[in-house]
Amino acid sequence: MNWLLEPWTHAFMRDALAAGLAAGVACGVLGVFVVFRRMAFVGEAMSHTTLPGLVIAQAKGLSLMAGALASNVVTALGIAVLSSRTSRRRGIRDDAAIGVVFTGMFALGVVLTARIGSWRDLSHLLLGNLLSVAQGDLLFMLCAAVLVLAVILALFKELELASYDSTYADLIGIRSQRLHALLLVLIAFAVVSGVQVVGVVLTSALLITPAATAALLTRRMVPMLWLSATTAAAAVVGGLLLSYHASLPSGATIVLMAALFFMTAWIWRRTQRG
């Protein structure tokens, strides 16, 4: 029991837990939409496109999270415009739109790093920095999680419908492209939180792995949202405990824990079929 409780006697572990749960739940809930709208590439892209914002914020002495968020919102809106129906008719596919914005923003980040920053300054964000999360960043992550959950709750039926039949959504007056843009902006908020927890390189795992795990366990949307959020939260708790006791990097351990849950669910699903 002491193994389970002792880590939380430290303030930095409690802050890490709160930050991890905020980012995990936000990413877990959004991840279901990301997976079933076939937008998995978006998570990967968004986490990398935080780079130019991070570099500029670092150089100007501004909040890194604000820089990352600004960068990601620009990315989200850029993808929304380039993947609009008008662009599609001009021959630009969704994945191509994401690829163009993703690589363009990341290249901008690399150039800016060479000019005004250094990789060493940003290395902690490439791999996550959960155990030294600042109070301001923690507040941002909690607010981002509340925002994501509030919007999903308020617009659930419209987001759900536009996800499987955007034509019918448009027919009855729901602007599916605006909902798509809104979803991308929410993903931007969640990814910025995720970068703090597991780093740029592994953030897409927070979006994809819990949702993919939940999809193995149920075929209903609402239980899937709960399961995905719970899986993400369990990965954060388990990953933090393991990283504390075994002196492992917290972000990577959380992602490994999520992968372990996925493998367990996959094996369980196979035994059910067999």
């Binding site: 008719r89 039926k157 996800s163 039949d165 448009d170 027919l171 009855i172 007056g173």
Partner: protein, 239 residues
């Protein structure tokens, strides 16, 4: 529509003209934006309560015309009136039943929930569908033989069941004008009978409909008029 402030479309919605025909097209050109129109000078009137067939080979522009009437594509010219109003001014009274390929069937939603989406236009933003909405859905599912599979994910349905489901959603919407895009294409005989019976009931209840098909012979349905697409023109129907 109880509250236009929370309705989809908000202040753009208007009450229809009760004396107007269900649909009136005058000199309409239709096509996808950025491409040449595939249909020119389309003129016909669909009186309320009538059922028209729209016949033409694949690629002739049937879907394009139905989507233009539904407001999913902008008209490339001419004038379209739905119950006397411009397109989009009373979209809760219009339903478009697409071909099956346009749906993401892998999405985790079940048959009942999918059908319930037909009530969303009457529910609007920030509200949950009422008990009355669920009762309408139950009735529609029963009429199409889908009650037994109401909790089944849509991805596990056969082609005929998927087509019935699309019609169930349109019926749940209780719209007055139905635009059906190849509703019996690749559908099994049992589904065909159920779909035909539902369309008969809807017409008896005063609903108007246009049914597109590449071969009117595959339908056992009687049509009040048959419109045919030939060389980019629509022939037949009152003008």
């Amino acid at each position: 529509m109880k509250d236009t402030a929370l309705s989809y479309g908000g202040r753009h919605l208007h009450a229809p003209d009760p004396s107007a025909p269900a649909l009136a097209l005058h000199s309409v050109a239709a096509g996808h934006p950025g491409a040449a129109p595939v249909l020119h000078d389309v003129n016909f009137v669909l009186p309320a309560g009538k059922r028209f067939a729209l016949v033409g080979p694949n690629g002739s522009g049937k879907s394009t015309l139905l989507k233009t009437v539904a407001g999913l594509l902008p008209a490339r010219g001419g004038d379209i009136r739905v119950f006397g109003l411009r397109v989009g001014a009373c979209h809760h009274r219009t339903s478009y039943v697409p071909q099956r390929q346009s749906i993401n069937w892998d999405f985790p939603v079940d048959v009942a929930r999918f059908t319930l989406a037909g009530r969303f236009v009457h529910t609007g933003w920030l509200r949950r569908p009422s008990a009355e909405c669920h009762a309408v859905v139950d009735g529609v599912l029963a009429s199409l033989g889908l009650t037994e599979i109401a909790r089944r994910p849509i991805g596990e349905l056969s082609g005929g069941q998927q087509q019935r489901l699309l019609l169930a959603r349109a019926a749940a919407q209780e719209s007055d004008l139905l635009l059906l895009d190849e509703p019996l294409n690749a559908v099994d005989a049992a589904s065909r009978v159920l779909v035909g019976a539902l369309l008969d009931r809807l017409q008896t209840a005063g609903k108007s409909m246009i049914v597109s098909t590449h071969d009117v012979g595959i339908h056992d349905l009687p049509f009040d008029e048959v419109l045919s697409i030939e060389d980019g023109m629509v022939r037949g129907g009152a003008r």
